[in-house]
Symmetry: C2
C-alpha cells in the first residue's frame, strides 16, 4: 500500500484514519502477462494504481491491433470513457508483463470521494491530468509526423523501449 | 446570476453564504457577435457559463476554418486544454450571436475550489462530463460516416440549426 499512499499524499493531505480507509477501499490485484485489465465490450470495473509492470492500450481495427499508449508503475490507470459512465469499453488494456496493482471499484471510489476530506480534489486533479495528456497526444497526432511522435515517445519513455518488445 | 446558480445547485448543494461568494467570483461578460472567447495562441482566461447565445469551436487548418463544435446557453464553456495548464490555445472559440456569460478566472476558480464546500466535486463532475463527451465525439469521428455525424448533431441540436447559418 506504501507506493499508492505516497502517490496520493503527493497530491492531497491524508489523515492516519483516512489512510486506513484507503487501505480497505483499494484491493491488491495481480494481472499475469497478456491478461486484460479491461477488454472491448466489457465495462471497466476499476481505477488501478500500478505498483509493478506495464500495460498497453489498444483498439481492434478490423482484426488489426492498434496500440496507442502504455502506462507503467507508479501511475493511475483506467479506461475512464468506460469507467466513469459505466458503459462498455471500446478499447483494450492488457498486461505486457506480470503486473501488481491496487484497484478500486466504482462503488468504493464514490465512498472515497465522500469520506476522504480531499478525495474530490484528488479525483479532479487526476482526471484533469488524464484529459490534458489526451488532448496533447491528440494534437501531436494531428501535427507531428509518425517519426516525431516515435522520437517523443522514446524520449519520454526511454526505459519502456526494452520492456515492450 | 440565477441561471448559473441553478446550474451549480443542480450538481452540488450550496449555502446562502456560498451563493454570495459565487456572486463575487463570477463576473458578467458580454461577447458581441463574431468576437472571441479565446483565440489561437492566447491563453484561455476563463471558464464561462453561457446565459444567452451560442459559440462555436474551430481550428485554423492552413487558412481554412474547421468547425468542430457548438455550445449554447445553460452550459459551461472553456478550452480546458488551454485553461487548465494555462498554456496557449490551439483552437478558437467565437460568439455566433451576441452572447451573455458569467465567467470565472483561473485564480478565482482556485478560490471557488477552496472555499465552496463541494466546489471540488462540481469541478470533478464538470470535467468528467466534458472528457466523456469528447471521447464519445472522437469515437463517433472514427466510426460514423460524416452523414451519420451530421444527423446525430441535428437530432441533438435541433434548435441550433436555425441559429448557426
Amino acid at each position: 500500500m506504501v507506493p499508492l499512499l505516497q502517490a496520493i499524499k503527493s497530491i492531497i493531505p491524508v489523515t492516519a484514519q483516512e489512510e486506513e480507509l484507503i487501505g480497505t477501499l483499494f484491493k491488491k490485484r495481480g494481472y499475469s502477462k497478456e491478461s486484460f485489465f479491461v477488454s472491448e465490450g466489457e465495462v471497466c470495473k476499476y481505477v488501478g494504481f500500478i505498483v509493478e509492470g506495464v500495460m498497453r492500450f489498444y483498439i481492434n481495427d478490423n482484426g488489426e491491433e492498434k496500440t496507442y499508449g502504455f502506462i507503467k508503475e507508479n501511475s493511475f490507470i483506467s479506461n475512464y470513457g468506460s469507467f466513469v459512465p459505466q458503459t462498455p469499453s471500446l478499447q483494450n488494456i492488457q498486461a505486457l508483463e506480470d503486473c501488481r496493482l491496487y484497484v478500486i471499484s466504482h462503488a468504493d471510489l464514490q465512498k472515497f470521494y465522500r469520506d476522504v476530506q480531499h478525495g474530490e480534489r484528488l479525483g479532479r486533479l487526476v482526471i484533469e491530468q488524464v484529459f490534458i495528456q489526451m488532448l496533447q497526444d491528440l494534437n501531436s497526432f494531428y501535427t507531428d509526423t509518425p517519426e516525431m511522435r516515435y522520437d517523443k515517445f522514446l524520449t519520454q519513455n526511454a526505459d519502456l523501449r526494452q520492456r515492450i518488445r
